[in-house]
């Protein structure tokens, strides 16, 4: 099957600092891929490069056959991308409902608000509250919910469980598993291996802005020593 996302020889910069050094990876339709690596390896930068959020990038990024390298930043999402940034990006000057409704529709099969409230009842209760008053878990749910409303083909999730209580991690895992069953494709950055292993079909190890290795879920244990070396757990 052809890849939904294909990245080849990607270089990325923050102003003068060269962070991605020829990174290549791919994600097939319906697949969940986890990107793992130690702090500062370039995981977040990879997702930001896909969203055209770096000051400069080179190489190839294709989504569903379309070249993303020359797409202006405000058109990238329309190729089917749903981005959940590491810092969650909840707007504090907007209410919860305003945050939820802010993003333009990019696909035809986005979740309805009723669906969203069934999954995340808290968001309905707290609808009028300011975005900044939500707890970390609620912010993560909102970041996920508002993107699901737009109807993306591929979710880019940057450490969705970072800093969250185990119960909340559990409910986010349930949510993502359900999405996966429905056929959603996901590229997931995750430090929580337990969480990543329970969800991902394939792993890419990233080190100093390059891919240091990749393997399927059932090869995870066989690669334990390489993972330990690269990720340094």
């Amino acid at each position: 099957m052809s890849d939904l996302l294909e990245i080849r020889d990607l270089h990325g910069w923050y102003d003068e600092s060269h962070v991605l050094h020829g990174l290549s990876l791919s994600v097939r339709p319906g697949e969940t891929v986890a990107l793992i690596g130690r702090n500062g390896a370039g995981k977040t930068t990879t997702l930001r490069a896909i969203m055209n959020l770096l000051s400069r990038r080179e190489g190839m990024i294709r989504l569903d056959g379309a070249d993303l390298m020359n797409v202006p930043r405000h058109r990238v999402a329309y190729h089917g991308l749903g981005y959940i940034p590491e810092e969650r990006g909840i707007f504090h000057s907007l209410s919860v409902t305003e945050n939820l409704r802010l993003l333009p529709q990019i696909g035809t099969d986005g979740m309805t608000e009723a669906d969203i409230y069934r999954f995340f009842p808290n968001l309905k209760e707290r609808g009028r509250a300011g975005g900044g008053t939500l707890s970390g878990g609620e912010q993560q749910m909102l970041a996920l919910a508002r993107v699901l409303r737009t109807g993306p083909k591929l979710l880019l999730l940057d450490e969705p469980t970072e800093g969250l209580a185990p119960v909340i991690v559990q409910s986010i895992a349930d949510m993502l598993r359900k999405l996966k069953e429905q056929g959603m494709t996901m590229l997931l950055v995750e430090q929580n291996f337990h969480f990543a292993k329970s969800l991902a079909d394939r792993f890419f190890l990233i080190e100093n802005g390059r891919i240091a290795g990749s393997f399927a879920r059932d090869e995870f244990d066989a690669h334990a020593s390489q993972i330990t070396e690269v990720v340094g757990v």
Binding site: M51, N52, L53, R73, H74, R75, V76, A77, Y78, Y83, P85, G89, F91, H92, S93, L94, E98, N99, R101, L102, L103, P104, I106, T150
Partner: protein, 295 residues
């Protein structure tokens, strides 16, 4: 006749009305500055020039085509807004990501050019622009004489300010604007045409300034330097209110107009500097302004 603090009521009420009238202009102008600064991070030194352009556009359209005041009140600001959109697209957009100082210098340069050209064409003397006949005259309210045109300006300015506030705080478009003010790249990555939003915002701020200029035309003379006279006070108002706040800009504008008017009654010698004294005091105790976020 009733006195308050030894001041005859009609005198006091008259000065308060003039204060509110001036405050109406401060509010419209500082509101535009605050919106532009919030999203574009540009301290728009061309704001006074845009105000002046509004007055001149109304004056010239009136001279050439004999258009009624009510049409000029909308048409002149629209023309200025289109001019501002071109400035944003052609010049300001290239400053993205640079130090805000560049925006300040560029808009200051634009103001000098526009004002210079206006002086070259029209000289420094003011042109007269008559208020609409429906608004001439005054009413005796018993405790004061109220000129109709001044009352009209205060009410219209208040309505426009509140409508702008509602647009920003209560609509989807306003939510986009607020979100982009907080985190422009992210909003853009979500699929919002932020470059267009920036142009529209600058044009809207210019519209408000030009709208104020048209309303000022019948009372103050239409002259090339009318903008640079008022804009100094308006920048002080913005500093006092705090750059980030929409409601703060409106409230501070009217409030400082009132305080200025009051000062004219109590201690006229200080009326020209009272705004700047307040600015100094506010800066000392609250550097981010009365309504600014402390950050």
């Amino acid at each position: 006749m009733a006195d308050i603090f030894g001041i005859p009521l009609p005198v006091l009420a008259g000065q308060l009305l003039i204060g509110l009238f001036n405050g109406a202009f401060y509010a419209l102008l500082s509101l535009g500055l605050a919106i532009i600064f919030g999203l574009l991070r540009i301290i728009n030194f061309a704001h006074g020039a845009l105000y002046m352009m509004g007055a001149f556009a109304a004056f010239l359209l009136g001279e050439w085509f004999g258009l009624p005041f009510w049409i000029l009140l909308v048409a002149a600001p629209l023309i200025v807004a289109i001019f501002a959109a071109a400035i944003e697209r052609g010049l300001l957009t290239h400053l993205q990501g640079l130090d805000p100082l560049y925006g300040l210098l560029l808009t200051f340069g634009i103001a000098l050019i526009v004002e210079g050209l206006a002086q070259y064409q029209f000289g420094v003397a003011g042109q007269n622009f008559s208020p609409p006949s429906a608004l001439s005259g005054a009413s005796n309210l018993g405790f004061m004489i109220m000129p109709h045109y001044r009352a009209f300006v205060i009410v219209v300015s208040l309505i426009v300010c509140l409508a702008t506030w509602a647009l920003i705080e209560r609509t989807k478009l306003g939510a986009l604007l607020r979100a982009a003010t907080e985190n422009r790249p992210l909003v853009e990555a979500f699929g919002v045409n932020v470059p267009l939003l920036l142009t529209a915002t600058y044009a809207f701020g210019a519209f408000l300034a030009a709208f104020a200029g048209v309303m000022a035309a019948p009372v103050f003379q239409v002259s090339p330097l009318m903008g640079s006279n008022i804009v100094i006070v308006v920048f002080a108002v913005v500093v006092i209110g705090g750059m980030g706040s929409i409601g703060g800009a409106i409230l501070t504008g009217f409030l400082l107009g009132l305080i200025e008017g009051l000062t004219k009654v109590i201690y006229p010698e200080a009326s020209n500097i009272v705004v700047f004294v307040i600015m100094a005091i506010v800066l000392f105790f609250r550097p981010s302004g009365l309504f600014g976020k402390t950050a």
